[in-house]
Amino acid sequence: MKNEMEIIFDAVSDNESFARVAVAAFIAHLNPTVEEMADIKTAVSEAVTNSIIHGYENLGGYRKGCVPEHPSEADLACPEAARRKMNPGKVRVRCLLEGGVLHIEVADTGKGIENVEQAMEPLFTTKPELERSGMGFAFMEAFMDDLEVESTPGAGTIVRMQKKMGVGDWISCGPSR
C-alpha cells in the first residue's frame, strides 16, 4: 500500500504545531505506539522550526532577536514594525507511506546551510542569542531511522527522514503475531 500527502504552509512559528499534528494525523490509521507518534512529532517539529527560524529567519514567534541583519532606515526608525516583518516563505512537508516505512520530506527555499556537517553537530548553533539548544538535527537523527540533508546556500534546504513503523505488518495483513 502506498499513501502520500503534501502540505504547504507559511513559514511562521504558529504553524509549527499544525505541521506536526498534520503528520501525526496522517499516520494515525497505522495505530502507531505512543513512542512512535512522539518521535515523529518531535522530528517534524525540529525540521519545520529549522526552516522557519534558520531558512527564512522568521523569528517572530520568539519575540526577541527579530531585527533584520541589515536594517533599513525605516527599520531603524520603527524597530517594532521591523521586528514583526516576516519573510513570506513557505515550508513544504511531504509524507509517503510505503511498505510500512514513513518517509518525511521537509523543504524550504530559504537561505540554505553553508556547512551541513557542522550544522548537524550537536550543540552547534548559528543563533546562540535565541537560546536554542543546537540539538535539532541530533534529535531528528535520534528519533528517526535515517536522516539526509540536502542544502544549497541561497536556494534552500531539503531534509529527508525515514522511519520504519512497528505495526507495518499488522496494517498490510501480514502474519499475525
Binding site: 506536526r20 513512542e35 518531535t42 522550526t49 522557519i52 520568539y62 540539538m135 535539532g136
Partner: protein
C-alpha cells in the same frame, strides 16, 4: 493549545516554580524564557523547578529553555529540577544529555 499565563510562575521560598504548557516548541518557548528571566532578576531565586504535569509534547526548544535557565542560576549555585516528567520527556532529557544537569524528581 492553551497559552501559558503569569499564574504559571510562582516563587516559593527561593524556588521559582514554572508550570509548563501542554506543548513546548519554539513558538511557546520564547514566552517561557522571557517570563522566567523576569522572575529570576526580580526575586531572590536560587533554584528553578520545571513542572511538566501538563506537558504532552516537547522538542529541542524545551532543552534550550532549561539550558538557558540553568546557565543563569548555576553560577550562583542554583539547581534545576523537573517534576511530573513523563516517559517521553525523560527520553528527551536522556537523548540530549540534559539529565546530567537537571534533577528529575519522582513524585
Amino acid at each position: 493549545m492553551e497559552q501559558i499565563t503569569t499564574e504559571d510562575f510562582q516563587v516559593i521560598d527561593n524556588c521559582l516554580m514554572i508550570q509548563l504548557p501542554e506543548e513546548i516548541d519554539h513558538h511557546s518557548a520564547g514566552y517561557i524564557c522571557e517570563s522566567a528571566d523576569r522572575y529570576l532578576v526580580r526575586n531572590d531565586v536560587c533554584n528553578v523547578v520545571f513542572d511538566f504535569g501538563r506537558t504532552r509534547f516537547m522538542d529541542s526548544s524545551g532543552i534550550g529553555v532549561i539550558m538557558g535557565r540553568y546557565r543563569k542560576i548555576s553560577c550562583f549555585g542554583g539547581k534545576v529540577y523537573a517534576i511530573h516528567a513523563d516517559k517521553q520527556i525523560q527520553r528527551i532529557f536522556k537523548v540530549s544529555g540534559l539529565n546530567k544537569i537537571v534533577e528529575v524528581l519522582e513524585s
